[in-house]
Every structure is written in structure tokens, then in C-alpha cells.
């Protein structure tokens, strides 16, 4: 049986293909808009481009929103693929089935952040009469479109290289000795997690967008390892179960969606004000409030599991 015969993958790839076609149509129009756009002109060409701009905006708004929603479907599909990939017990096994999996996931995450940035710039552009960010917005989309094409190629490579006859490693991989970045110990990792978390809250309060941007990117990296290799143990209540995906499953009350969702949203809101400033020269610091709120949820939920476990057993894992 081929992985391409699974219902989830058929639906997923079909939607991806439709979105790519829509984006490609938009991209063709974007090229002509970028080449000839002159807002001050009242020529037939300019009016035609303005009409085209509305069409392109509508298509892109739809496709970009779909891509964001499709990411959640992709995660869900990975979970359900665990049922047909031998050896896989959760997404960890499916993602780790070949070396394209983690790269694909990382690219998807970057694209989601990129799409989010595009949606905000688009909103600012449409709210102004003169379309001041039109060219930058479309250049950004062009970059994202290249990313989407790369993502699609990676998806095909990834799905076609998932072995269905040879068992894959799943959480067994992560049962082995943890491979933490820079040789960190768990204690150091958790310490960094809380220090960075505190620093981000402070920087967000002080509205330091650039510093917050840097710390947020660092925090994303540290938080991934901290959640997987430390907090995850308390969620699973098992000292050797180091998996970022199992917490997304029903057995753990889907708590992973709250943890990862609030983390990614927090990071997104944390890095956006700086990026938006760079593109539009407009202040969007109010997003930092949401960033702090989301990261507080992440840290709070993670910490509650540790405290709860300690109160129940009197020991730390």
C-alpha cells in the first residue's frame, strides 16, 4: 500500500495543489501589478490593475487563511498516519520516518509565521487609501510562494519516502539518552526557559520590539527542547517518554494543542511588531501584550504539570 492512498494524504495534497494553482494565478497577476503599478495615474491600465489587485487580494486572503488552517490538518493527518506506518505510535514516528519530516515541519512553521506577517501587512495596506505597502506586500508573497513550492516538493519527497514495510523508530528514539542542544542538562534547559520567559515579559512590557524579536526566536528554540525533554515527562508522567507529539493525543486531553498553540502564537505575536516596523514603519506594539499573555499560558500550563506531579508523588522526574 502506498502512503498516497491514505484518505488524509489524498485530501491534504489535493487541497495543497488547489491552493498552489490559485497562488500561481495570483503570482502571474502580481508580476504585472508590480511592473506597472502607479497609484497616482488615472489611466485605463492603472484602473485595470486596481481591479486586478482586488481579485489577487481576495484569492490570496483565501489561500493564505486556508494554508494556516491546513497546517492543523497536517498535524492531525500525521497523527492518524501513525496507524498505518509500522512502528509509529504517534506523529514522532511518522515525522521521523525519513530525514525530510523535520525539515518539512520546520518549513511549514516558518511559512505559517510568514503568512501571518503577510495577512497583517495586507490588512494595513487595504486600510489605507493609497495602497502604500502594495509592492512590499507582493514581494513578501513572492518569497512565500517560492517557499510554498519548496514545501510541496518536500511534501512529495517526504510522503513518498515513508516506509510502510520497514518499522520506523517512534518514541523509542526519544526514550534513548536525550540529545540536548549544546550539551545542556535538563536543569540548565529549564533555567534558560524561565530566564528567557521572564526576559520576554520584561521586554514586551518595555515595548522593546527588536530585543523581544531576538529573545522570542531564542525562546522558541529553547522552549521546544524544554517542553519535549522536561515538561513532557510530567505530562506523560513517565521519566523516559520524551515526545513533542503524544501530548496532542486524546489520552493527554489534547493538552499539546494548548501548549504548542499558545507557544507558537506567543512567538508569532512577539516577533511580528519588529517585522511589521521594518516593512511598514508602523508601530504594532500592542501585539506584545498578546505575546506575553500567550507565553504566560504556555509557561503556566507546563509548570502546573510539574507542580501537580511533585504534589502527588513528592519527587521530581
Amino acid at each position: 500500500m502506498s502512503i498516497f492512498l491514505s484518505n488524509e494524504i489524498i485530501v491534504f495534497l489535493l487541497i495543497e495543489l488547489i491552493l498552489i494553482v490559485l497562488m500561481a494565478i495570483s503570482q502571474v497577476n502580481i508580476v504585472s501589478i508590480l511592473r506597472h503599478w502607479d497609484f497616482d495615474a488615472t489611466t485605463p491600465l492603472q484602473y485595470a490593475l486596481e481591479k486586478k489587485n482586488y481579485l489577487v487580494n481576495t484569492i490570496l486572503y483565501f489561500t493564505v487563511t486556508c494554508k494556516v488552517i491546513l497546517f492543523l490538518f497536517f498535524i492531525q493527518s500525521l497523527n492518524s498516519l501513525a496507524g498505518i506506518v509500522p512502528g509509529a505510535m504517534c506523529s514522532a514516528g511518522v515525522v521521523g520516518a525519513n530525514h525530510y519530516g523535520n525539515a518539512l515541519l520546520l518549513l511549514k512553521l516558518l511559512l505559517i509565521f510568514g503568512f501571518g506577517l503577510w495577512l497583517i501587512v495586507n490588512k494595513l495596506d487595504l486600510a489605507s487609501i493609497t495602497f502604500p505597502y502594495l509592492k512590499r506586500k507582493y514581494l513578501l508573497f513572492t518569497l512565500l510562494f517560492i517557499g510554498v513550492l519548496g514545501e510541496f516538493i518536500l511534501e512529495i519527497l517526504y510522503f513518498s519516502n515513508i516506509p510502510l514495510t520497514v518499522p520506523v523508530f517512534c518514541c523509542t528514539v526519544v526514550f534513548q539518552a536525550p540529545r540536548l542542544p549544546f550539551g545542556y542538562t535538563q536543569t540548565l534547559l529549564v533555567l534558560f526557559f524561565y530566564i528567557l520567559f521572564g526576559a520576554i515579559l520584561l521586554l514586551n512590557y518595555l515595548k522593546q520590539t527588536m530585543a523581544s524579536f531576538t529573545c522570542n526566536l531564542l525562546f522558541l528554540f529553547i522552549a521546544y527542547y524544554a517542553i519535549t525533554y522536561f515538561f513532557g515527562l510530567y505530562i506523560y508522567e513517565m521519566p523516559n517518554h520524551k515526545c513533542p507529539y503524544c501530548m496532542l493525543q486524546k489520552e493527554y486531553y489534547y493538552i499539546g494543542y494548548l501548549i504548542w498553540g499558545s507557544l507558537f502564537l506567543g512567538i508569532f505575536f512577539g516577533i511580528m511588531p519588529f517585522l511589521i516596523e521594518q516593512i511598514t514603519q508602523k508601530s504594532y506594539v500592542y501585539l506584545l501584550k498578546y505575546a506575553s499573555l500567550c507565553l504566560i499560558i504556555t509557561a503556566l500550563v507546563c509548570s502546573v504539570y510539574v507542580v501537580r506531579y511533585y504534589l502527588m508523588t513528592g519527587v521530581f522526574l
Partner: protein
């Protein structure tokens, strides 16, 4: 001071197709604040197209339409809608009332999109009904009104937002003589209220009326003034 300035305006329908045709050709027109202007011409001369462009209902193929010095042809759709809602009152030939609703509810409809309080809305609706002389029918369903009454309801709805500009497309086409004269009386009230009014019509009733500031003749999409 010019309320509306139209420069080099063209409207091409079905561009790049064999049946492409210019509904408006190089229109240049300036309308002062508080003027009542008649656009005259036979069917197909471009009167309604010009009205729809001034009202921001459609976009030109080229040229400018400046209302209060702002080129409304360049407004994004969402702002174009806001512009229409706040600045323009439309009176259509077929009235375009919301069937099934009462006169009061029809006139109230544009106010539903504002943040006005109930009392303020009620007051505005009453003022508009008085101006259009339709308050005695306020609770009646619009489906049961006569042609003249329906039009007065449409007029009240057009003015309830207190627009600066009123656009009327063949307002007397579906009216008998008596109701047409009532419309002219309302037109005189608009003049007193210093509204800028543009009427597209081929009705000779408007010829030589004292309240009319200007009559512009159109033919085959061109101004003959």
C-alpha cells in the same frame, strides 16, 4: 467651490471583447456645492452610467471623479461603501425598497449601520418622513403603497443620512403628473437645504424650472454642453 469635479472620464464596457463600447467618452464636468443639475439625454446616452460613477457604484476605465477634492474612483471598495453611505443619497427609478418592511423600517435601514442611539434614529427618520411628506404612512407595508408614495418613501430613505449629494435616476419615470409635481416640490426643499442634486432624466417636466441651476445634455456618452 466645486463639489464635484469630473476630468477626462471614460467608461468602457466589455474591454478587450468584440462588443466593447464606450458608455462615457472624455467627460469633463464641474458641479458647485448646492447646485441642482439635470443630466438630459435619450436612453443609452450615458446618464445612468455617469450617476453610478459619481455615486461610487462602479469604477471608471480612466479619468478622475473628485468629490470634495478626493478622487472617489481610487477608493478601495470598503471605503467606497462608506463614502456612499455617508455622502450620497440615491433615488432609483424603480425605488428599490425592501418589500415586506414598513415605510418606517425602510427609512430606518441606512441608520442601522450607524452608532446612533434609538432616540436619535427615531428623530432622523421622522425628519426624513416629514421632508418627503410620507409620515402618515409610516407603519404601512411598502408593498401596499401607490407609486408616488413608494417614491416618497425612497426619497426619505435617501435623505435620512443627511447626505451632501443626492443622485436621482429617472425619478419621475414611474409617476403620474400629480406625483411628479410633488417630487418637484421636494426638489425645492433640497435646494433650501443646500443639497447638491444630480438628476438623470429625459422628462421635459424639468425644463425651465426655477430651482434647476444647470441642464447638461448628453448624447452617445458625450457631454454636449
Amino acid at each position: 467651490m466645486s463639489k464635484i469635479v469630473i476630468q477626462n472620464l471614460n467608461k468602457l464596457y466589455n474591454p478587450n471583447k468584440p462588443n466593447a463600447f464606450y458608455a462615457l467618452k472624455n467627460i469633463n464636468l464641474s458641479i458647485e456645492d448646492g447646485q441642482i443639475v439635470i443630466l438630459k439625454g435619450v436612453s443609452g446616452s450615458g446618464k445612468s452610467t455617469l450617476l453610478s460613477l459619481i455615486g461610487g457604484l462602479s469604477k471608471p476605465s480612466s479619468g478622475e471623479i473628485l468629490v470634495n477634492n478626493q478622487n472617489i474612483a481610487k477608493l478601495p471598495d470598503i471605503m467606497s461603501s462608506a463614502f456612499r453611505h455617508q455622502k450620497i443619497g440615491f433615488i432609483f427609478q424603480s425605488f428599490n425598497l425592501l418589500e415586506g418592511l414598513s415605510v418606517y423600517q425602510n427609512i430606518l435601514a441606512p441608520l442601522a449601520l450607524t452608532k446612533l442611539g434609538k432616540e436619535a434614529m427615531h428623530e432622523k427618520v421622522n425628519q426624513a418622513m416629514q421632508l418627503a411628506n410620507i409620515e402618515h404612512k409610516k407603519d404601512q407595508n411598502v408593498g401596499s403603497l401607490s407609486g408616488g408614495e413608494r417614491q416618497r418613501c425612497a426619497i426619505a430613505r435617501a435623505v435620512v443620512m443627511e447626505p451632501e449629494i443626492i443622485l436621482a435616476d429617472e425619478p419621475t419615470a414611474n409617476l403620474d403628473k400629480e406625483n411628479s409635481f410633488i417630487f418637484i416640490e421636494i426638489l425645492k426643499k433640497f435646494k433650501l437645504l443646500h443639497k447638491t442634486v444630480i438628476i438623470a432624466t429625459h422628462d421635459t417636466l424639468f425644463d425651465d424650472l426655477a430651482c434647476i441651476d444647470r441642464c447638461v445634455q448628453m448624447r452617445d456618452g458625450e457631454l454636449l454642453e
